[in-house]
Symmetry: C2
Subunit: 399 residues, 2 copies
């Protein structure tokens, strides 16, 4: 198994001023395509530390992803120290100079002189394209490891990781074929229950042919299926039955697929059927409306939101003229937070046929309960719109 | 200068499943008390990696903070590998066994057998107390560095860091006295402008006697003054004049101090004067109400929120019966996001004396503009309540 290391550079990261979400993104994506990260290193914009880190990683790993230090300013040192570690000079990439110059020209601007530094690469380095920025990547060999350099700007790094870095790593590791990641977002089940629900599906396991993973973002849970195939057809034929079985078992708890969101699914359904919506809420204080009203395309759909105690869904619907009204209210326990502290949440949905309602007792601190109530309200609306039972017990409630 | 390394352990962190906010918290806190982090390492729950990481850090740093791996389960390996690196056996801490047993007994429970593992420490280790959990810390020397072990649970780590670890590090580094961190939260000025506004204050600089630092959390900026003194009296006498001068220069842009928030300041002012509030918003879609309505103590103050196009602050005030009404609306540019994309934000505040209003053109993508509009609306309300000018130009707007 190829050993991969992630080496993050920069004073902002080292000092904790910036939380290192680039690291977690890179590590997660590698795990999803079956590559194992065995070590992470963070150093600042400091010549001696960078050189030591490159040498140590080159003695330890088979491949190293370096992130950061490719900018135009004097504290960006990645190319310089890479050249030093390789014992080669920096040479100008005419190709990248031209690409940068053209990119500035297209926006009617002249390239600042210090951008030239970004086209200086270690002699003999493999060029790695950056289609959306001025920091190109490159690859060199230091010690026994192949080093792949990526920019610190998250948007650029993420695109280059998927399009340029991961294919190279898979090739280096002798891993052939194509990969896909299928994601299900659920509300109402915890990780251990989801794990039980999916037990025994042939080929699906933490270390199975189709790799199963969970990521909890309370109150939602993400279930991930990572699969590798010889080609797209092979991948489809192997994934399809497992995906269908996972969907069947997770059932009505699946609120969205892949890059979709619960609120996006609600909006799509409302738009598709030319429906409109009003939202009333008390304890959630605007958090339910804030999930839907700002969405692109919600202008013609979201009629009104009211944050106040009292109004029923039926009243809201009548006042606003919306086809559907969602009202969520909470009766909080008295006193300070304690282990069994909680709230009773009442969700009402009114449409032309009348009002359906759902009551749930959620346990947890005030903020926890609020977050749960927002999701419960939205999920009831989704279920109602899709003709699913609104009253299905969730893991977070006690009866 | 003492070199400090942070060594984070655990498969969840290494694999990116959990974002490593413990690292950034530790590094930031150390920076605030004048300690320099020179290296960060992340390894998984793996014996060989842990041992190698301990040995490398012991050859590189003067002090190493290890985070994680102190739990009761078999994949928690920090004590075991620390003992191996020191060449000593693990021995049971009767003291910690007793503390854990008592803690369980107080909650009417019996301690599970596997918690015993958490009282096994390397022979000769210095005990580091954990007042709120079952994972005690400890310190040992490996190579030339003192290693201080802390639990991965953020709440426990943070408390032990401040109360136990930092004092030990300051002592190790021969740094005496007491420290304090003074924080100002501002809205409307960027980091470079704040830096200019604070230029030339005696003793205040990035590397000054009183250490100046900024942390941008758009749309707010945090300005930090870190100071060390021989004792509290010395510290007060040195900080007071600088703090006063910083406050004077940042002026009306300061929205809150230390652990306060903009919305908390607004609520405090409303409560102190027995005022009540209604909020109307369109493009911000509930996000303004969601900052105030859920606060503890807002029940009697927040009368109503409305999310809909149109209603003026005056109308809102009349309808809701609140003493004050804040209305924030946005006129978004047409078409897709582009470099000069933006919105015109109108803020109205109505009270018994009439309506004041403020218009600002914010530049940025849709989400960026929305976040700015929320803050602008809240800040105008704060300014109005405190008798400050509502119409002071901010860095994010174009005129």
């Amino acid at each position: 198994m190829m050993k991969v290391e992630i080496l993050c550079t920069g004073d902002e990261i080292l000092s904790g001023k910036t939380v290192n979400t680039n690291y977690s993104h890179i590590a997660r994506r590698l795990g999803e395509v079956g590559l194992d990260v065995i070590w992470g290193t963070t150093v600042g914009d400091d010549r001696a530390s960078l050189l030591a880190a490159f040498r140590e990683a080159g003695g330890r790993a088979d491949a190293v992803i370096v992130n950061g230090g490719l900018g135009p300013t004097v504290d960006d040192l990645s190319q310089e120290i890479a050249a030093e570690a390789c014992g080669v000079p920096l040479v100008l990439s005419d190709y990248w100079m031209q690409r940068m110059t053209e990119s500035y020209a297209r926006r009617g601007r002249v390239m600042p002189a210090n951008n030239r530094k970004q086209a200086m690469l270690p002699e003999g380095a493999e060029f790695i394209d950056n289609p959306i920025g001025t920091a190109c990547g490159f690859a060199v060999t230091i010690g026994k490891a192949r080093f792949l350099f990526t920019p610190g700007v998250p948007r650029e790094m993420r695109r280059m990781l998927d399009e340029q870095v991961i294919p190279r790593l898979l090739k280096l590791g002798g891993i052939t074929g194509v990969t896909r990641l299928k994601r299900f977002h659920t509300f109402g089940i915890g990780e251990s229950r989801a794990d039980e629900m999916l037990a025994g599906i042939p080929g699906l396991a933490i270390d199975g042919e189709i790799k199963l993973g969970f990521q909890a973002h309370y109150p939602q849970l993400e279930t991930k299926l990572a699969v590798r195939g010889a080609d797209e057809a092979d991948l489809n034929s192997r994934l399809a039955p497992v995906e269908a079985e996972v969907r069947r078992r997770l059932g009505n708890f699946v609120v969205a697929d892949d890059n979709e969101t619960l609120e996006g699914v609600i909006l799509r359904e409302l738009r598709a059927r030319s429906l409109t919506l009003a939202v009333g809420e008390d304890y959630t204080g605007g958090n339910i409306a804030a999930r839907i009203a700002p969405l692109a395309g919600a202008e013609g759909v979201f009629r009104k939101g009211v944050i106040a105690a009292g109004p029923s869904a039926e009243t809201l619907r009548a006042e606003s003229g919306a086809s559907h009204a969602l009202a969520v209210s909470a009766q909080l326990d008295e006193g300070p937070d304690r282990p069994d502290f909680g709230a009773t949440i009442t969700v009402q949905i009114a449409d032309a046929r009348g009002t359906v309602s759902r009551t749930a007792r959620l346990i947890g601190g005030r903020d926890w309960v609020r977050v749960g109530a927002v999701e419960l309200g939205l999920d009831c609306l989704r279920r109602h719109l899709l003709g699913l039972p609104v009253d299905e017990r969730i893991d977070f409630e006690r009866r």
